[in-house]
Symmetry: C2
């Protein structure tokens, strides 16, 4: 089967969330929290990500977007680092940090190569506007924005993978999920999608990242340019 569409995990796979959040945290909290380990702050915030989405995935609450979940988990993170009296305006700016992330260096050019012959969409847990902001910031062009905004649920719920396949209208095996996380790829594969793993050795800063897939995948790539090479996209 030929691959005809790529749907992408975004946080970690296309963009460097840890450095970007740490940069904004440093900028916005330096005065109040001198000596703050901004990378550790980003890690602590990200650690709330899965538990916060689980409240939606489980059906315990109606769908709310990731901006809302980030805003809800922020006070806990601030308290964990002993940072008090952060204004609502600064908290809102901190939530926007997740809209201001830089792509991994090879991504813009590699995505442009892939787009010459394939349809492309993010299939992320971030909402439409967050995806649009990341795309505009980094010069990424997608054909559509799929994912949590489109499916009103969070990966790895089946709707995210099934809706992504249906939206582009190819067979599941012609639609490839691209991610730096084996769990995402395992879920995609369970719905028949092809899968590509991207090794993001620095996703978690000093804590590293997945050096390769821990599950069977269709492609394993060092970065997005390597994937484009393997797919024959010049």
């Amino acid at each position: 089967m030929t691959i005809r569409a790529l749907v992408f995990d975004v946080f970690g796979t296309l963009v460097d969330w840890r450095s970007g959040v740490a940069r904004e945290v440093q900028r916005l909290l330096a005065a109040q929290a001198p000596g703050l380990d901004a990378g550790a702050f980003a890690d602590a915030w990200r650690a709330r990500y899965q538990p916060s989405m689980e409240t939606v995935r489980s059906g315990a609450r109606a769908f709310v977007d990731l901006d809302t979940l980030h805003a809800e988990s922020l006070p806990d993170v601030l308290a964990q680092f002993g940072i008090a009296d952060v204004s609502e305006a600064v908290q809102a700016e901190l939530v926007q940090a997740w809209h201001r992330l830089d792509a991994w260096p090879e991504v813009p050019a590699a995505l442009a190569r892939l787009r010459k012959t394939l349809l492309l969409a993010p299939n992320s847990n971030g909402p439409v506007r967050l995806m649009v902001d990341l795309a505009r910031r980094n010069g990424l062009v997608f054909d559509a924005i799929l994912g949590a905004g489109y499916s009103r649920d969070y990966k790895p719920k089946p709707a995210l993978y099934r809706d992504a396949v249906a939206a582009f209208g190819f067979a599941p095996e012609e639609t490839m999920m691209v991610a730096a996380h084996s769990s995402d790829l395992a879920a995609a594969a369970s719905h028949g999608l092809a899968t590509a793993h991207i090794a993001r050795l620095n996703e978690h800063g000093p804590a590293g990242g997945e050096t390769g897939p821990t599950v069977p995948v269709t492609y394993a790539a060092a970065d997005l340019a390597d994937l484009a090479d393997q797919l024959g996209c010049r």
Copy 2:
């Protein structure tokens, strides 16, 4: 209020559905139906559009996409024109005619101008893949694909306008619905969106099109380039 995002009607407003469908009908049915008035065939097919969507809007049936509605209404149109024995393969190709429409001539360049400062998305009754196919065919770049695929309902149901505003996250009055149809703009305005009317004098071929808005609008434009001029987008 400044306009920050534009959401577009597509059939008639950005693309010339009548000429495109007639061209494909002519190509696919000429052998079986010599002398067929392909424009009249396109009109007859389009006449089934609102009644077919109404079955979804009313709640009488679960959401199905416009490809499905086009496929369902096609046999009636063929019968109306006395065309028998059209294979399933040709019928499927005819449904694809709606994916192969040309943009009105000024649209690609005007859209590129608008995109320099505004976020853009179709807010059409067509599904994601249909929008993607039209965008790729005509070199249009959008930031997201909103509309029936995103909202699982059809204009003028409130969800289409509310979801479009929420997806980009600006105030309703910062989000502008752009359409060649006053009814669409009236519905958008009822949800607080700004509105722009585009005069498509040839939408219905010899039967013309709306020469101007029949409802109050924020902008009335001769075409999309005129709208870009009025918005100061160079």
